[in-house]
């Protein structure tokens, strides 16, 4: 991104082209296969130690269903409690407003050296691009996020943003961008991150992070991580801004227990991540540790539109563990970048249309085989296939060709003799064409949908007899009459 460039839109229109590129990239497919398999295995091992898993899932699902159906009152409770404790809460209706709030706070506090910890919501609003355009220097400090920032890319996985890169690629990138000797040793590469980012932490004056959970009854917010960079972002700079979606609220402090049992196990297969930090307002004494000012930006950006029906609300229950990505037969083949959204995989296909609009992401709900593996692993039991079907239905507007075609088909199908006759004509023509090989190309030109279908697949060989013929002759007979 260059400074001054407008915020890039979530644009998921070109799934087809991007997925073709991904499928042709052997290195990417190797990395994807390794990572999705390993994540899924780690999750399996963690679940083997958790006999009450189903009870936890059911509890979490019920808490989310209740909270989202009364989101207005829980948000209000959260804001009131948080403000009592001195947290400065800002509402943002869309991405532009969220970005402006952050840059306005930065200007007010004369902060320009920004350290960031991993946050999907700041990716969603394009915060880095915005801050750059305002003359600030945001630095990602999570190792994976830093790698993709140096590479000028976007995250490809919700919890492991740079998993599409091999150690060789990271080593080359560090060498080119930082002017250091190239190493392919993971430990050495990790040390490079520690060394370089320490220098940025040392003089940072603004910290930006995401949020995993907002606790309504105490006005607190919780951040999970493993590296310690989020703690540094939240402890060293004089100002801290946390940015999150309105759907992250849970009613009670005690509810954290069940969510902290589900989230790390589903994401990385850990019983608990290394760090959880619970913030309840800024520091009380001036000389104490932590930022002088603590802000929270609550973002809508299409979320409230998903509140109308119980099914749509389910999508807002997502706790961003990434488990559905690792088991998705589509994601496993094409990876996160093909989706063109910061939220890839099954959950991305569901929430991106709401965040970016049908125009940008209307085709994403079709990027699924509806196998249901995502629903089976979801820690909060989101019915992802049902949501995908619902979105497909709403995104589909039948054109005149389709309407006419289906009307004709239903009339023909209601007349057995006519249907049989036309069926015989069709199968014979196809058989004839297959013997010469010319027909499939011709059909493709005459009927565009078939052509698209045929482009990537070969037309199945026509059997000698139709089902109707076999049925007439008795299914158990080997040789039906012709």
């Amino acid at each position: 991104m260059t400074p001054g460039e407008p915020i890039v839109d979530l644009d998921a229109r070109n799934f087809g082209d991007r997925s073709q590129e991904a499928l042709a990239d052997d290195s990417l497919r190797g990395a994807l296969d390794k990572v999705t398999t390993e994540f899924a295995n780690r999750r399996q091992r963690a679940l083997a130690q958790a006999p009450d898993w189903e009870t936890w899932r059911e509890q979490a699902r019920a808490i989310k269903a209740h909270t989202l159906a009364s989101l207005d009152s829980y948000l209000l409770q959260f804001v009131e409690r948080a403000e009592e404790r001195g947290l400065q809460v800002h509402f943002a209706e869309d991405r532009e407003e969220a970005c402006s709030i952050v840059s306005a706070i930065a200007k007010q506090t004369e902060a320009s050296r920004v350290v960031k910890s991993k946050s999907m919501v700041t990716e969603e609003i394009g915060l880095n691009e915005h801050l750059l355009s305002q003359g600030m220097e945001p630095v990602e400090t999570d190792l994976g996020e830093w790698i993709i920032q140096l590479a000028g890319e976007k995250p490809s996985h919700i919890i492991a943003p740079a998993i599409h890169k091999t150690r060789q690629e990271v080593g080359r990138l560090f060498s080119e961008e930082l002017g250091i000797p190239e190493s392919h040793d993971v430990e050495e590469l990790t040390n490079v991150a520690r060394r370089f980012l320490r220098a940025r932490f040392a003089d940072a004056d603004l910290g930006v992070s995401g949020v995993n959970f907002l606790v309504a009854e105490t006005g607190s917010f919780l951040v999970l991580e493993n590296e310690g960079n989020a703690r540094l972002c939240m402890s060293l700079p004089k100002v801290h801004i946390a940015v999150t979606g309105i759907e992250k609220v849970i009613p009670r402090l005690a509810d954290l227990d069940v969510f902290l049992r589900l989230l790390p196990r589903s994401g990385t297969g850990q019983a608990l991540t290394t760090y959880q930090t619970l913030f309840t307002g800024p520091k009380l004494a001036p000389g104490d540790e932590g930022p002088e000012e603590l802000h929270l930006v609550l973002l809508d950006n299409g979320r409230s539109k998903q509140l109308s029906t119980p099914l749509e609300r389910e999508a807002l229950a997502c706790i961003r563990c990434g488990a559905c990505l690792n088991v998705c037969p589509v994601y496993k083949q094409v990876g996160g970048h093909s989706y063109g959204s910061v939220y890839p995989g099954p959950i991305g296909a569901v929430i991106t249309p709401a965040l970016a609009g049908q125009d940008c992401a209307g085709n994403l709900p079709h990027v699924s085989s509806l196998c249901g593996a995502c629903r089976d692993v979801c820690p909060v039991k989101i019915d992802l296939p049902e949501l995908l079907l619902d979105l497909r239905e709403r995104g589909t507007e039948a054109g005149w060709g389709e309407r006419w075609g289906f009307a004709a088909w239903s009339r023909i199908a209601a007349r057995p003799r006519l249907a049989g006759f036309l069926g015989r004509v069709l199968t014979r023509t196809v058989r004839l064409g297959q013997s010469s090989g010319a027909l499939s190309r011709m059909v493709g030109k005459l009927l565009p949908p078939l052509g698209v279908w045929n482009d990537k697949r070969s037309l199945p060989q026509m059997p000698k007899h139709s089902f109707r013929q076999e049925w007439k002759g008795g299914l158990d007979k080997q040789e039906p009459p012709t």
Binding site: K34, A160, R167, T190, N229, D257, T277, F279, G287
Partner: protein, 210 residues
């Protein structure tokens, strides 16, 4: 504008109009984990943490001295915990106290070899240390130096996270509550586990059982 009338909340309200929310389930009554010192040690060691069990504060100090000698620590950043006041003078290292009135400057803190503090609670099931900000200034000393030594009294061990949350809620929550389970880690490159990325590379817990 007060939060109540904000357009965003109104948008949420209008979308939810007529919705009958399903009931909020009671907090799950989970079987309490078995707890105890052994469980704590096992869980922490499983994530590359080290536990040193001692009978008294004096023995704990000996452990710290031994660690300092083994690992060639010179400068130690110490929180202002009252329980550590006697250790600070006799640890035998250049000891810098991170206090409310005279915090260690950021640039100096970055040069320290090890940070020392106490934990307010320990969670046996996961090997987690809970640091409450109102008790002492331990947020940075437990985070910035490459090594962390945390003193935990066995009487502050609770069996599981649910018990810890209940205990925290008996009074107003501190501004910052940090839950720490082992050393800092990452697996962002090829999912290869690497210990010690931004936070400490080692976490040694001195568990005082006396």
């Amino acid at each position: 504008m007060s939060a109540t009338d904000h357009p965003l909340l109104n948008a949420v309200r209008s979308r939810l109009k007529g919705t009958q929310p399903p009931p909020l389930p009671p907090v799950l009554d989970m079987p309490t984990a078995r707890g105890g010192v052994d469980a704590f040690c096992q869980a922490l060691e499983a994530v590359e943490g080290q536990v040193h069990r001692v009978k008294s504060s004096e023995d704990g100090l000996l452990i710290l001295r031994g660690l300092a000698a083994d690992r060639s620590w010179n400068a130690i950043a110490c929180s202002d915990a009252a329980a550590l006041s006697s250790w600070r003078d006799s640890v035998g290292l250049a000891c810098h106290v991170h206090g409310l009135r005279d915090p260690i400057p950021r640039s100096e803190l970055l040069e320290m070899d090890v940070g020392l503090c106490t934990a307010q609670l320990g969670i046996a099931e996961t090997g987690t240390l809970v640091l409450c900000s109102e008790s002492e200034r331990h947020r940075l000393v437990s985070l910035v130096p490459p090594a962390s030594v945390i003193v935990l009294f066995a009487r502050d061990l609770v069996p599981d996270l649910a018990s810890a949350l209940r205990q925290l809620q008996t009074q107003a929550l501190p501004t910052t509550t940090s839950f720490i389970t082992g050393p800092s880690r990452t697996a962002d490159i090829e999912l290869t586990l690497t210990v010690g990325v931004h936070g400490p590379r080692s976490v040694d817990v001195i568990l005082i059982e006396g």
